[in-house]
């Protein structure tokens, strides 16, 4: 069994990270009734004897003593991290896993990337190495950050290059929160585009998410719960947005519901690697199956169901509804409509009491309405994990490598150009040592290159699928 380390960068990254660790503890508490430190827990947590001072405290088997998250928390201002350390999760983190500063990055990618990057490079390396040493077999780094700000965006992407150089064999999965249209940070287009270049070049896999979509999903849930239309009540723990029943009680803060969705995404992504099932899917299989060409590693995700009703029996119809919903544009975590764009590959990760026949039936049912690229007409990757998420009897995470990410990127470029043409706020960036106008130009051209690749694939959409002439051999 392998381990993963979560690196949470910036305000957004740390707030999501906090929700993630809380829900992870909740999930493991629900599954692991006996309190034994097993391989599933060890993928995200260390077992430490807190009485031992210094490093010697790790316990590898037996009863759980004290769980410590395999995490590195980075923020260039102290507010968020301090709050975490004073909050109910303070015991889960090691004070040695933090890197903080006081002044913040001022929503400036250049400050985060160039200034703090060089200032903290050594410290970052040291903390990462330490966390890697605590792992028996480190498989993946999960980086959580936002694209629109300064720290998450700048320092978060600086990290990627460091990870690539220092741990070339370990996967880098990045969860990136993209700025929505009405983002209140004026320079977010600059920050995002500059960050995109780094994601293009140094990430193995990116899960883009945008706040607007998360917000829409929450509104939908609230509507359903409060409308009273359903008759029966919704199971509170089953809301994909809630932290009810979490081990550590905390007051719901404004972004909590949205962050919980992202936290659930990460838990479901790793569930088949941690828990048993009849068709397992490890993290290295995600990259292998969903990334046909190195540059095209952006995966659109959707989580269903968003809530479970209190019925005990789940008729087949509801199970099938779960599959249908996964492809609807209302359930995607970014503004995208995969059904009307071209699929390069699609993964369905199912948890709970679902069998292979249910999977097959739904794939057959949904296939005709989806368009797959000509060389991957049956591009489905599936996995079955027996352990359902807390509060649900079954759930589905769909990951799609689909050209529907193109509009998001193109919009971002639009907003960027609107600012850049007027050279608005540019001086804040150019005054940082190491930043020149060419950095901006390179970043835009990197994004344009990516969009062009998606365009070329889209162009093949309406062409008839022809079989290429086969190798002929002398008989």
């Amino acid at each position: 069994m392998t381990q993963s380390v979560v690196v949470q960068v910036g305000q957004c990254g740390n707030q999501i990270g906090c929700c993630f660790w809380d829900l992870a503890l909740r999930e493991h508490a629900a599954v692991n009734q006996k309190g034994i430190y097993d391989e599933a827990i060890s993928s995200f947590f260390r077992n430490v004897d807190t009485r031992v001072v210094g490093d010697g405290g790790s316990i590898s088997k037996g009863k759980i003593c004290s769980l410590k998250a395999r995490a590195v928390l980075i923020d260039m201002e102290e507010g968020v991290v301090n709050e975490i350390l004073q909050g109910p999760l303070r015991d889960v983190f090691d004070s040695k896993q933090l890197i903080t500063d006081i002044s913040g990055s001022g929503n400036n990618w250049a400050v985060g990337h160039k200034v703090f990057g060089s200032l903290y490079q050594e410290q970052i390396l040291e903390k990462l190495r330490k966390s890697a040493e605590h792992c028996d077999c480190l498989q993946c780094f999960f980086i959580i950050h936002s694209m629109g700000g300064g720290t998450g965006s700048g320092l978060g992407t600086f990290l990627l290059k460091v990870l690539e150089d220092e741990f070339p064999e370990v996967y880098r999965f990045v969860t990136s929160i993209y700025p929505s249209g009405e983002d209140d940070v004026i320079t977010s287009p600059y920050n995002s585009i500059l960050a995109m270049k780094e994601l293009n070049e140094h990430a193995d896999c990116v899960l883009p998410i945008d706040n607007q979509s998360l917000f829409d999903i929450i509104s939908k849930i609230d509507l359903m719960v409060n409308s009273g239309k359903l008759g029966t009540t919704v199971k509170p723990k089953s809301l994909v947005t809630s932290s009810a029943g979490a081990v550590k009680k905390r007051h719901q803060k404004p972004f909590d519901a949205m962050n919980n969705i992202v936290a659930n995404l990460l838990l479901n992504l790793t569930s088949s690697a941690r828990f048993e099932g009849s068709l397992n899917m490890d993290l290295n299989e995600i990259s292998m199956n969903l990334v046909p060409f190195p540059q095209l590693h952006y995966l659109v995700s959707s989580l269903t169901p968003l809530y479970t009703l209190a019925d005990v029996n789940i008729p087949t119809r509801r199970l099938d509804q779960m599959f249908s919903d996964a492809f609807s544009k209302d359930h995607q975590l970014i503004r995208a409509d995969p059904k009307h764009s071209l699929y390069l590959a699609c993964a369905l990760m199912v948890r709970g009491n679902v069998q292979v026949s249910d999977l097959r039936r739904n794939i057959e049912r949904l296939k005709p309405s989806l368009q797959f690229v000509s060389w991957n007409q049956e591009g489905w990757k599936t996995s079955l994990c027996s352990v359902p998420p807390v509060g649900h009897s079954h759930s589905l995470l769909a990951l799609a490598n689909n050209t529907c990410v193109k509009p998001t990127f193109m919009e971002l470029k639009e907003r960027f150009m609107r600012l850049y043409r007027k050279k608005a706020h540019l001086h804040h960036y150019l005054q940082i040592e190491g930043m020149e106008e060419s950095c901006f130009m390179e970043a835009v051209s990197s994004l344009s290159g990516l969009v062009e690749e998606y365009n070329q694939l889209d162009a093949t959409k309406s062409m008839p699928v022809e079989d290429l002439p086969r190798l002929s051999i002398a008989v």
Partner: protein, 453 residues
């Protein structure tokens, strides 16, 4: 003589468990429909082939479990131990921490060499426990990374190290609508490598097994466990002991040798399939009676029309009239209706087995012209019934049955290869484009050979 089983990857290990369980359950089944002495001889023969003895009487499977991540093997070991009727050897398992990521190249070029010594040592220990070795039975899937890539590597090693022993690979053909996106690449690479190093490939298609579960067994929510149990039943009906020439209480000693001798006359044609009749849920079994004539008539038509189960058989398909060219020579663009065979082995078990008439299988029209029916058909009859079926028949055949699926997989892999999609994942670990081309060339040759039967 004994068979050493090597179970590779998630699929291989999950299936392996069901196979040993089915073999063990059947050999202890009280409804053998024969004398006590007969039953004991059957049990002893089964044990010799598949189990070794432990001190407190619990048989240990002659198997080596290999996987590159620990979840499945630990589950398999504990399931067996919990049954109380048999178990795996304590030290028969080799596993690592990080899987092969569905990457054939990783399984073959990285895991293979790295763990070669450890795995071959485990196999050696198991071989040493056998009084005499009939050969190896390797269970693996084609779609993933460990079963397929590491499986190909291990088979090659077995060929080098045990060149006098036979190797039969049990391969799982994945569902047509993907379980794994790169399954066609993995399958092409696996098949081409196994064709060079294995003696026979026993193929089971997930789609076919799934249909059997749905239509014949009437299972509503089909799980992989159900599918594996159908497979185990089919394998059991072939590998359980059968009479040798001396008849009653004397069972064949060399299962793999006998199978290969009858079914693989030419190294170009190695692909074998199993058809089984009857196959039904236990509830239905209580209400059914069979005659040998009825069973064999259906089985023959299943063979000719390339049907995998006794429901939905196409009775329109007829063998070609002698003297006229067989339909098999028509190009693949048209539906290949008639399934030409190279060799067939019919295994009959149960009541009144000696009265069964196999004339239908000896019709020369069923076979390709370069083998006389007398050499192409073999029949093994055993009185001892199998797994609660009063009468059961299994047909192992070397025929064109896999031609269309093989052609389909090669075609899809070729299309993907032309766009170079996913190739960087393989070249990263040392499988270059030339290796792909070699594999394609070999399989096109196999397709052509089967097509021209």
């Amino acid at each position: 003589m004994s068979i050493v089983t090597v179970q590779l990857g998630q699929c291989g290990n999950q299936i392996g468990f069901e196979v040993f369980d089915a073999l063990n359950t059947d050999s202890h089944c009280p409804q053998g429909l024969c004398s006590k002495r007969e039953n004991e001889a059957y049990q002893a023969s089964c044990k010799e082939r598949f189990f070794s003895e432990e001190e407190n009487g619990v048989p240990i499977a002659r198997a080596v479990l290999v996987d590159m991540e620990p979840k499945v093997t630990s589950q398999t070991l504990s399931k067996a131990a919990q049954s109380g009727r048999w178990k795996y050897g304590q030290h028969s398992c080799f596993c690592q921490k990080q899987g092969s990521g569905n990457n054939w190249a990783y399984g073959y070029s990285v895991h293979g060499p790295r763990h070669e010594e450890a795995i071959m040592n485990l196999i050696q220990k198991e071989v040493e426990k056998c009084d005499s070795l009939s050969g190896f039975f390797i269970i693996m899937s084609m779609a993933g990374g460990t079963g397929s890539g590491l499986g190909a590597f291990v088979t090659q090693n077995l060929q080098d190290q045990y060149s006098n022993s036979l190797k039969m690979n049990q391969i799982i053909w994945p569902y047509g609508t993907g379980e794994v996106i790169v399954q066609n690449y993995n399958s092409v690479l696996t098949l081409s490598h196994l064709y060079r190093s294995s003696d026979a490939l026993l193929v089971h298609e997930n789609d076919a097994l799934h249909k059997i579960c749905a239509k014949l067994m009437n299972i509503k929510q089909i799980s992989f466990s159900d599918i594996n149990q159908v497979l185990a039943h089919q394998l059991g009906s072939v590998f359980q002991p059968t009479y040798s020439v001396e008849g009653s209480c004397h069972y064949r000693r060399n299962p793999l040798g006998d199978l290969m001798e009858n079914l693989v006359p030419h190294p170009e044609f190695k692909m074998l399939g199993i058809r089984n009749i009857p196959q039904m849920s236990e509830n239905s079994l209580a209400y059914s009676t069979f005659t040998w004539a009825g069973l064999l008539k259906h089985l023959r038509q299943m063979l000719i029309s390339n049907s995998k189960m006794e429901e939905g058989i196409d009775w329109q398909v007829r063998p070609p009239l002698s003297g006229l060219p067989t339909f098999g020579k028509v190009s693949l663009n048209r539906e290949l209706h008639f399934n030409t065979s190279i060799a067939n082995l019919v295994i009959l078990r149960g009541k009144d087995v000696h009265s069964a008439d196999l004339g239908g299988f000896k019709d020369p029209a069923l076979y390709t012209s370069w083998l006389e029916p007398i050499h192409a058909v073999n029949v093994w009859k055993t009185q001892r019934a199998f797994s609660k079926y009063e009468k059961s028949a299994a047909l192992v055949s070397n025929s064109q049955f896999l031609l269309k699926p093989l052609d389909t997989i090669v075609g899809k892999a070729w299309n993907m290869f032309a766009s170079k999609a996913y190739i960087h994942q393989y070249t990263k670990f040392g499988i270059e484009e030339e290796d792909f081309l070699d594999s394609f060339a070999l399989l096109e040759q196999v397709v052509a050979s089967y097509c021209n039967l």
